[in-house]
């Protein structure tokens, strides 16, 4: 990671480029730096946008100049060249796969020459790193989808996809945080709200967290959904060292 570049993005922002590839090591480093910045409360910083392999920083030029900000960020980036020495959180996301909950699971199965059961097994057998959030409030870009279940997007996107839908779009998988149009192949639904504006913390997941999809049957889906509606559901989180 020698090729870190810090460049201006206009007069009120700078962009730190950590390389030009999507990998877990680079992304963990970005997560670590964002945590460091939150701890240090750097003067003049207004907001941050961590992405796959870059970190954008909005700052107030009335308080700090580009050169000063660039120097501070150079120092911060050097401070932690290992990266990823933080805590690891894995969120269990219960998913009711197939049927009316996942109308496209048949398409995903036939595209990969698999049975629906195999698709569910493959999708729920690994933990997915949240590389970044974007597109919609709480929308997580996940990495590491098994190639056997990569499936092209719908030729004709749906006008409305319900919040909680779990789907596959090309080589990506994810959860729709709110009702939205979209072209992903839908394989299931989670009763967990990844975005709830009425909750004290509206967004459940952060970049750097992991997601583990856990298959549940319809009865369990309904049970959890009731708890969620009453505000009594606690997401199961596994914590550990990296």
């Amino acid at each position: 990671m020698q090729n870190i570049k810090i460049v201006a993005a206009g007069d009120s922002s700078l962009l730190i480029e950590f390389g030009n590839e999507i990998n877990e090591e680079i992304n963990r480093k970005i997560t670590t730096i964002v945590q460091l910045m939150r701890d240090q409360q750097i003067e003049g910083v207004v907001d941050v946008i961590p992405a796959f392999c870059s970190l954008l920083i909005n700052y107030d030029p009335r308080i700090v100049s580009f050169e000063k900000m660039q120097r501070r960020m150079h120092a911060l980036v050097k401070m932690d060249l290992k990266g990823g020495a933080g805590r690891k959180r894995i969120f269990e996301i219960p998913v009711c796969y197939g049927g009316e909950y996942g109308p496209d699971i048949g398409t995903i199965a036939s595209h990969g020459g698999l049975t629906e059961k195999e698709v569910i097994e493959i999708h729920s057998s690994r933990d997915y790193l949240i590389y970044m959030l974007g597109f919609l409030p709480g929308f997580c870009y996940l990495g590491g989808l098994d190639e056997r279940i990569h499936t092209p997007r719908l030729a004709n996107p749906r006008v409305k996809i319900n919040a909680g839908s779990v789907g596959i779009g090309g080589s990506q998988t994810g959860i729709y945080p709110l009702d939205s149009p979209g072209g992903w192949q839908l394989m299931g639904m989670t009763p967990v709200k990844t975005y709830d504006p009425s909750r004290e913390v509206p967004i459940l997941l952060e970049a750097g967290d992991y997601i583990r999809f856990v298959p549940v049957d319809e009865a369990e889906y309904r049970r959890i959904k009731d708890l969620v509606e009453r505000g009594e559901y606690q997401c199961i989180i596994h914590e550990g060292e990296m």
Partner: protein
């Protein structure tokens, strides 16, 4: 007591400087499009610098006041009237209960602003009162204003010192072309030398694809070296992205937080108002400046606003010009 919306206009929303601090969770910033006009409107009333205002687009709203308030109108000329009489802009105006403030269509510019000394009774959501239309968040029920909506004032503030001094020169919005100063990058290296030359030496035209989210321009093809697709990264107010069709798209207040097209340059903050006040078919040129120059321009504008603040806090010259003073004082007493 506050304002009742009699007509919503084309797109009238509650805005401030935007909802920052949540972009890492995917929340866009939103906020006003023309920051300068916004700042001047609040400045005229001694409001806090981030106090919420109404922003309207192309066709303005009609408002009925159900309480006394002082207001200031800035931005494009929407031919405002109070009870049918032309209303001054860039001036503190005393509004009484029952007064009707009516905006027409934009004679110059595209966006107008009105600030209130009583402060709009809009709840703060995640640190801001601004409306995020896409996420249906903040502002008035997360949406644009419509006839029948009612907004209370948070406080009574029917008096401001140096009232007659509270008038400033009008900003001009009638130009049909603008040169936007830009800081190159962050991905100028994705474009060929010829591509950058084209970008900086050509005239581009504002298309009808122009809303709070962004402005698409039409003009000569800006060639990338290979592809203009990048691994998605953060976007700022004024990012100029160039997808493979080679035409610039300038991202504005309602931009998404991240995007996957290379950004050839970023518009200097002080020049964004020049763009957002233009109309379809107006012409745009780009001029490269350094980040240091852009930050100096930013600070120069801060100083200019400070001078305006000083000016409106001095005893009024006009008091000597009896007729003008009499005209403005009359409004305080007639109903």
């Amino acid at each position: 007591m506050g304002i009742r919306i009699l007509k919503g206009g084309m797109l009238t929303t509650v805005q401030d400087l935007g909802r920052t601090g949540y972009q890492s969770q995917g929340f866009g910033v939103s906020g006003v499009m023309d920051v300068r006009s916004f700042r001047i409107a609040n400045l005229l009333l001694d409001n806090p610098e981030n106090e919420a205002v109404l922003e309207f687009t192309l066709i303005g709203p009609t408002l009925e006041f159900t309480a006394t308030s002082i207001i200031a109108i800035t931005g494009g000329d929407f031919q405002p009237t109070i009870n049918g009489e032309p209303a001054p802009m860039y001036t503190a105006i005393y509004m009484k209960k029952g007064d009707i403030l009516k905006f027409g269509s934009a004679r110059t510019g595209t966006r107008g602003y009105v600030a209130f000394s009583g402060y709009l009774g809009i709840p703060v959501v995640m640190g801001s009162r601004c409306t995020n239309l896409k996420s249906h968040l903040g502002g008035f029920k997360g949406r644009k204003l419509e006839a029948g909506d009612y907004i209370n004032f948070r406080i009574k503030r029917p008096y401001l010192p140096f009232f007659l001094s509270r008038t400033l020169d009008l900003d001009e919005f009638d130009q049909e072309e603008a040169t936007l100063r830009v800081v190159m990058g962050p991905q100028e290296d994705r474009f060929s030398k010829q591509g950058i030359k084209t970008f900086l030496n050509s005239e581009y035209v504002v298309t009808s694809d122009f809303d709070r989210m962004g402005c698409r321009l039409d003009g000569p093809f800006i060639a990338p070296k290979e592809t203009s697709d990048i691994i998605s990264d953060g976007i700022v107010f004024g990012s100029i992205q160039v997808p493979s069709h080679g035409k610039p798209i300038i991202l504005l207040a309602d931009r998404q937080t991240t995007g996957g097209y290379a950004k050839i340059a970023t518009v200097a903050s002080v020049d964004i108002p020049k763009l957002v006040q233009r109309k379809t078919d107006h012409r745009i040129r780009f001029q490269a400046i350094s980040v240091q120059e852009a930050q100096k321009l930013y600070m120069d504008e801060v100083k200019e606003l400070d001078r305006m603040r000083k000016k409106i806090h001095q005893p009024c010259r006009e008091v000597l010009e009896c007729r003008l003073a009499a005209k403005r004082i009359t409004r305080l007493f007639t109903s």
